[in-house]
Symmetry: C2
Subunit: 391 residues, 2 copies
């Protein structure tokens, strides 16, 4: 049986198939850039007024005389008026500065009398209050590098350069198959022996937290044929997640169905609690994750393994791990890594009560998963532990 | 002019109008629960087998004899067969345990010979491997409290209880109006004097990062009529965000348009850089944010003010603030708070270069905004600063 670290290594070995897609900036939030972006334009695209004021040519002013005001330029207007030697023009923030002038005095520093201005400031210097063309970004400048995430400021920046589409690492197509004759959808009537299906809801939400809408979700009976048909329907997806049917019982048919569908098993079972029967396989370039049917085990395996595989595909890091100090103690068996529901505080991380794998209430309150290493039995307050933040 | 803290206080004073909405669990990820949830059912809903094994009645077994196996119960099946005294039945994980039996021996601890089992374990005790009805959650138990966020495990938990809908704090309806005659959509041809419109892209993405799709986005000319019409079209929204036109220039018409539309100004201008002309007003229950047109200023005001107001509406905390140590120094003017683009490292937070408000490249790389307090001039490495995490 593999250790947690061995299982992680095996999965990352097969998670190498990123795809690149050209997306509209409008829907590219949080994607990772797949191709370094160079500026298609100068920014500003023209000499631009940085303030509201009056524009004139510095060398045409004698430092004392009033200047006649011969026109007005608003942002967005292209000034086409005449601008003779020694004249000034009213100009507003963001407007294009005509080529005949080179300096802007802000309106707080003039006195306007009719069609003339008296410039009060004696500190005015040539070039004041003009943002020169290309002073922020030059055409051809490197803007954002491959691997950079598209945050709102990055998207705003690219829009300002006129970029409407760009190449990013695609989200994978992910199909979910939950198996079990006992499963009934929430909101339906519960017949004797049945339980409400929750894994598709938990896994769909977990995928949505990564910005991924599952491509398909299906719940099938514990029948070899049904499971095989469901797998074959989505075998072209990048990732297939199954729940249930990976234990050793006579009716745990998922491993068998996968084998019959041509999936190569990479491993089955990991030295961990919960989630010991965790299965991983591949067929062509499709990654197959078989998670235990127990909802807490299924989500734990998602956070600890599936999300990392998706992150290799999309070139993102989703649920960061960090080392924290325990605030309470715990005694476990050796030979298994434990994943416990935890809550971060200011002084460290607390192990929540109700850790049994079938209990979801503590998981619903948790903001992290605490990993207790395989070979250690006694964990004391202030012991350092690795923690995965899941919020 | 208000300080940053005074501006924050004013906004929070008016941000009191949460709405409650009944949502399908399917789309409720990350919403905050508006009404404490009690379990509608026992969980498990019946005495449930925790393992694959054989079920029998403990007191009917003499501790030595073989037991006849008279049937088989799969998960999801309701056993209707006869089960006489001293008999056993094959049972699988998740199956309902018939009322005639009370103990399950796991399959690893028996030897099966034809239709009989020999129980090997001498440690078997009454009640083994059965999860009693209601042992996880009893009907009527408090499940999740008002104020709790709907994480994937919480959604999985609620689904497992058969809950398909619940009451959560609604997202606000948010309208965006960007103003400016000079604005052209990315991908279009740039006429002289025009610039690419980027604020709607930046703000839309920032809202999407909060899980909110803007209800409307419009770009209008610098015309009083156009701006007033745009405002009136969405004046019933919960929140209106405008960009541009809030400075003091002759053509900065947003404040005037808002006044004419009946908006009461709460404040205009804050002692901060960037974003000094920041405007906040209200009309009926609608919050109005007038952000500067400069893309970096607009997004900074969004992160520092608008997101907090939305968080009061949705009862969430979006961009957390924390105290960190500076890794580099900075000299600023007193009398203004500065918001600088920063990057978190392992030892503290670094102020990025290119901080001018019209430069978006450093913002595109930033993962946080560093707030430098109003009255302090010199910031040295290792000085503590408040930082807002924006990723």
């Amino acid at each position: 049986m593999l250790s947690v670290q061995e299982a992680r290594n095996e999965i990352s070995k097969y998670s190498v198939n990123s795809r690149i897609v050209n997306l509209s900036l409008d829907v590219a939030l949080n994607y990772t850039i797949a191709k370094t972006v160079y500026s298609p334009v100068d920014l500003p695209h023209f000499n631009q007024s940085a303030m509201d004021g009056y524009a004139f040519k510095f060398e045409e002013w004698d430092g004392i005389s009033d200047l006649p005001v011969v026109g007005e330029i608003l942002a967005g207007n292209n000034y086409s008026g005449i601008l003779e030697k020694g004249n000034s023009v009213r100009i507003f923030t963001g407007a294009a500065v005509p080529h005949q002038v080179d300096t802007i005095v802000i309106q707080e520093n003039i006195i306007r009398e009719g069609n003339h201005i008296k410039i009060r400031a004696n500190k005015i210097t040539k070039g004041d209050n003009i943002r020169l063309q290309g002073s922020q970004t030059r055409k051809g400048d490197l803007i954002l590098e491959l691997g950079q995430r598209l945050t709102p400021p990055a998207i705003s920046f690219l829009s300002g350069l006129g970029i409407a589409n760009l190449e990013v690492f695609a989200n994978p197509s992910v199909g979910i198959i939950t198996t079990g004759k006992e499963l009934v959808k929430p909101g339906m009537k519960l017949e004797p022996g049945k339980i409400f299906e929750s894994n598709s809801f938990g896994l769909k939400s977990a995928l949505m937290q990564l910005g991924i809408n599952p491509s398909s979700i299906e719940t099938v009976d514990d029948s070899l044929d049904d499971i095989m048909q469901a797998i074959n329907r989505i075998i072209h997806h990048d990732i297939i997640i199954l729940t249930g049917g990976v234990s050793v019982g006579d009716y745990d048919l998922v491993s068998l169905a996968l084998e019959r569908c041509g999936v190569t098993r990479v491993f089955h079972k990991v030295k961990q609690r919960p989630g010991k029967p965790f299965y991983f396989g591949i067929v062509n370039r499709t990654l197959i994750f078989g998670l235990p049917g127990n909802p807490a085990s299924a989500l734990t395996c998602f956070y600890e393994y599936v999300a990392d595989a998706i992150g290799l595909f999309t070139r993102k890091e989703y649920f960061k791990r960090e080392q924290l100090l325990l605030t309470n103690g715990f005694i476990k068996k050796t030979g298994l890594s434990y994943f416990l529901k935890g809550k971060k505080g200011t002084t460290g991380v607390s192990i929540l009560s109700d850790q049994e794998s079938f209990k979801m209430n503590s998981f619903a309150m948790a903001d992290c998963i605490i990993e207790l290493e395989e070979d250690k039995e006694i964990f004391r307050p202030n012991d350092p532990v690795m923690v995965r933040i899941i919020t």
